[in-house]
Amino acid sequence: MTDIVVKTVEELKDAPEEYREAVSKLVISHAINELYGAQVFDEPAIAYAPTPYAKWLTCRVAMEEYGHHVRFKQLGVQMGLPEERMIPGKGKKPLSIFEFPLKTWEEFVAIKLLADLAEILQVEDLLHCTFHPLRNLARATMPEERFHAQFGEDFSAELVKTPEGKARLQAAVNEYWPYLPKFFGGSKSKNNEIFRKWKIKQRTNDEMREDFIKRATEVSAKYGLTLPEIREAA
């Protein structure tokens, strides 16, 4: 472990190159994935929401996801990163889950229930980050991410009230779940090793994945849902 604390973007200029690169990679990754999420899932879901209440709630969730992209991008710009690197289609490959356009309301509820739980774990791991502007951004983002996961729980609770709704939700879970554990990266990730070396992140990808599977299993069980077995090692 290497002890360093960077309290401002200004101080980052004096940090070791490996540290600066690691922080930049994380900021870019979050900026891109927040934007993908908003464009691929949250905004299209507004059309599928069944009532005005659900539609405006989804509007707000979409705006918050876009807002997370804006905040990460603003931090990146302050750090001197080109905006192009923080916008999809300009280099970084998206996570595989974003390659499946949303088709139903139940899919969106399943994504909020499970994918946003994965997002919570990612943000949690930054709450003690040694780069304080990123730590503070994680702290600002966390209440909204928790609300989005609660949104998934609330609408799951509604859907499972009928056998038909529960079956549709379970089908959506079956479709999306296999892609989610990959969200945490490879077991032997060199990037993760560097993140932990500088205490930018706290846990290995495998530790986070294991925690995610445990928590996802628990929250699914609350609504009588099961997670399909993942055949392929992440």
Binding site: P50, T51, K55, L57, R60, D154
Partner: protein, 171 residues
């Protein structure tokens, strides 16, 4: 970035959610008629009543009409402005507005004391959507769209909840 200063000023000057549940005025009715072109304007008096209406299986034809208009206006705006500048301006305005109106909705809900926590997000989503729709209309060069009247209702502290048959429901 596209300059959106006048709209930003209007957004900050608006009386977001300050007249919810108050008796309807002639001005409210006039703006409501201009917005929805309905025979009747019905006032709703409380957050629980508003929540029940919004969760009911009402017709969403009015929502679909607004969406169709927004898409038409967005196409026009895209023809008038560079794509990246248009997209960035709308995203940043909506993000800024979302944070502002969320706080205003939370204040109104706290004063009323009987709103569900999620309804604050719903109110913020509705208000920020109204600003986004108005921004799209103005960027398309349209200054007399129904989104102008819709925004005026929000600016006057109201929240138009939707159209039910020939009635506009106003909180």
């Amino acid at each position: 970035m596209i300059f959106m200063g006048p709209l930003r000023t209007e957004v900050h000057a608006a009386s977001w959610f300050t007249a919810l549940g108050e008796p309807l005025t002639d001005g409210d009715r006039a703006d409501a008629q201009a917005y929805a072109d309905v025979a009747e304007v019905v006032g709703i008096r409380s957050w629980p009543e508003a929540e029940a209406f919004l969760k009911s299986p009402v017709s969403l034809a009015w929502w679909d009409r607004e969406e169709a208009l927004r898409k038409t206006l967005l196409s026009r705006a895209e023809a008038l402005h560079p794509e990246r500048a248009l997209w960035t301006s709308l995203t940043e305005l909506t993000t800024e507005t979302g944070d502002l109106v969320h706080g205003k909705a939370a204040t109104a809900a706290a004063r009323a004391g009987n709103a569900a926590a999620a309804s604050i997000h719903v109110a913020a989503g509705a208000a920020a959507q109204a600003v986004y729709q108005l921004a799209v209309a103005r960027l398309a060069g349209e200054t007399a769209s129904l989104f102008e009247s819709k925004f005026r209702l929000f600016a006057a502290g109201r929240w138009p909840l939707g159209v039910m048959g020939s009635k506009l429901v106003l909180f």
